[in-house]
Subunit: 365 residues, 2 copies
């Protein structure tokens, strides 16, 4: 419906994109000096800091940032017995931030990620690119060979069905990393000196039916569309694996996005990943995951959800049942994980009661 | 098995890659002056020129190129009544060249495609990049977020199953175009001035189960692996549509590659596409295709092939039956096309009898 303008002042873009509709979630165990570099891009936004490890430690946040901080004591206090679903001593704890946010969009970033430069030497505003990705549709049902057709200077190519050109709503924008690539421990050990120097100037939709390894280092998503699927699992303290938190969230999210007709994009923006984690420590965390994933991935590739799963919560509960039934045989860990998936949804719904939709900006800050 | 070197001289790379195992197929109606620009890259290879239109016209080929040329009279003489499956007055005739080749690999290019430059200004040897693509595996079963994992400086990322890291044989390498993008007539009409200036430095595998719009302008494939599926259909003279030749081949090829566990790559190399074809003429050729494709694509998305289809020919004959059964209802054209698909396979098998494998270089030119 076309209507005349009624408020010409509010339409002038004076505020950063989605300023009141997006939270930045950062899991950390140290002072957040890395925010200095991000100041021009992040300062207008609200931060949710999830402090991992010793809750008595004081985390310093540079002046001028608007933030709330949660440590383990806070998590236990807020969730009570349901806090068991939030990992401890692992960056998987970040998903607590997704749960307590009341915004429509989440951007999450690791504290060893710095601002990258594009090939012209310009600092990349990663958040701005994520917002572009998430606000424009995805194309999960047919591949466009010129990549994102909604980008300036691009379009759908010959042979692309016109009925599919409206695309699907974008639920996830997965960004990449220059410098230290996101390799597993065996690859780190074999290629200690490999650095990612290739800037690929593309954003693309991961097709429906295709799984991908989702990395949580530089990730944006629409909390309203997919939030309850972004559970980072049970990792770290007391658990048999680590470094599969984001992978788990990615597999579950992708299966549910495919079922609900939502899109997942990958590619731009890049951040600069400053420091490789210790490959020996990583191997210890990963080794069970490395063989379990050989069964987990076929499981997710074959997973289908019934038609009456019309909400993310319903999909996720259904998926938890399938995890218990099919992956419980692989290891008792998956029984525990399936239970935690249910607890996560219960906690999510408690903190996000129906009828309390995410805050949407009305254009007046 | 590791064995000691026996011929150290032959191992020195003195000849261009796949020199005796690859034919370049060019459909044309004009003198091939465009080859001058390609001379440093194409001259070592054998060309198969398929002359379209008036067979009495003399096509000039620049000196120094090794070629064979077929006009309509040749096609009729060689194929007899089966020549009906080869389109006339349409670049779809190029697939005759695939059939008469005796090499393992085909590269096909349009005569309005010039050498493009990479961002550093260096001339791109498109053929060399296609050969790299086709000689390294594909990854159709799981998406790698850092694109081609076999490329220098890249690898599989964390969370990529180790059992899938050997990849699948690559059957097709689909290259892209700078300058004039491959748009359909409606998009050409709406965006007459749009030029593709974005050089995306990536090669990626199109995942299993995902269709894509395959353009025949800049295309390489393994004839042994997928050749009989590369039929460009019935277009041009006497047919109700045009400009869907490569699309048709792409849909059939992708469904068969998915069934046989073969990979299809897209991305690099770029060529420089010099001249936009007339959008009004294109609209006339395309308009039936534009609504037919709304039924064709769901048909191919749903198509499955039975397990006993173990060769490309068997797959293709099975697909022709499904085309007749399912698309015959859309228009009688598809009945005719389904018959032509069968004729194509008969002609292919006649010119390529079993037991006469494609010539493979023994390393001695």
């Amino acid at each position: 419906m076309v209507e005349p303008a009624t408020d010409t002042i509010a339409s002038t873009k004076l505020v950063p994109l989605l300023k009141d509709e997006l939270d930045i979630v950062i899991p950390t165990i140290r002072n957040l000096d890395f925010l200095e570099m991000w100041r021009p891009f992040f300062e207008p936004y609200h931060l949710i800091i999830v402090q991992d490890g010793d809750p008595s430690k004081i985390i310093k946040v540079p002046d001028g940032f608007d933030y709330e901080l949660y440590n383990r004591n806070d998590i236990n206090r807020i969730l009570g017995p349901k806090a068991s679903c939030i990992s401890f001593k692992d960056s998987a704890c970040r998903c607590f931030g997704y749960m307590v946010s009341k915004k429509k969009y989440i951007f999450t970033i690791d504290d060893d990620c710095f601002v990258a430069k594009d090939p012209s030497g310009k600092a990349i505003n990663a958040l701005e690119q994520h917002i572009k990705n998430i606000l424009s549709p995805s194309t999960p049902f047919f591949f466009n060979t010129l990549y994102d057709p909604y980008r300036e200077g691009a379009d759908f190519v010959r042979g692309y069905p016109f009925s599919l050109r409206e695309g699907a709503p974008t639920a996830v924008s997965h960004g990449l990393w220059l410098n230290i690539p996101d390799y597993d421990a065996p690859t780190q050990l074999v290629k200690p000196l490999e650095r990612n120097t290739r800037y690929v100037d593309a954003v693309l939709t991961i097709p429906k039916g295709t799984l991908f390894p989702m990395c949580g280092m530089n990730l944006c998503f629409d909390r309203d569309l997919i939030g309850p699927a972004m559970y980072f699992g049970l990792m770290g303290d007391g658990q048999p694996i680590g470094r599969y938190d984001d992978m788990w969230a990615g597999w579950c999210t992708k299966v549910i996005c495919d079922h609900l007709g939502l899109g997942v994009k990958t590619g731009l923006p890049y951040i600069y990943h400053s420091k490789a984690s210790n490959p020996f420590v990583n191997l210890k965390k990963e080794y069970k995951g490395i063989f379990w994933q050989e069964e987990i991935i076929p499981f997710f590739q074959a997973a289908t959800l019934p038609k009456d799963c019309t909400s993310v919560q319903k999909c996720y509960i259904e998926l938890s049942k399938q995890v218990k039934e099919k992956l419980g045989k692989v290891d008792p860990y998956f029984d525990k994980l399936a239970d935690a998936m249910v607890t996560w949804i219960e906690a999510w719904d408690e903190l996000n009661p129906a009828g309390a939709p995410a805050k949407v900006s009305n254009g007046k800050a």
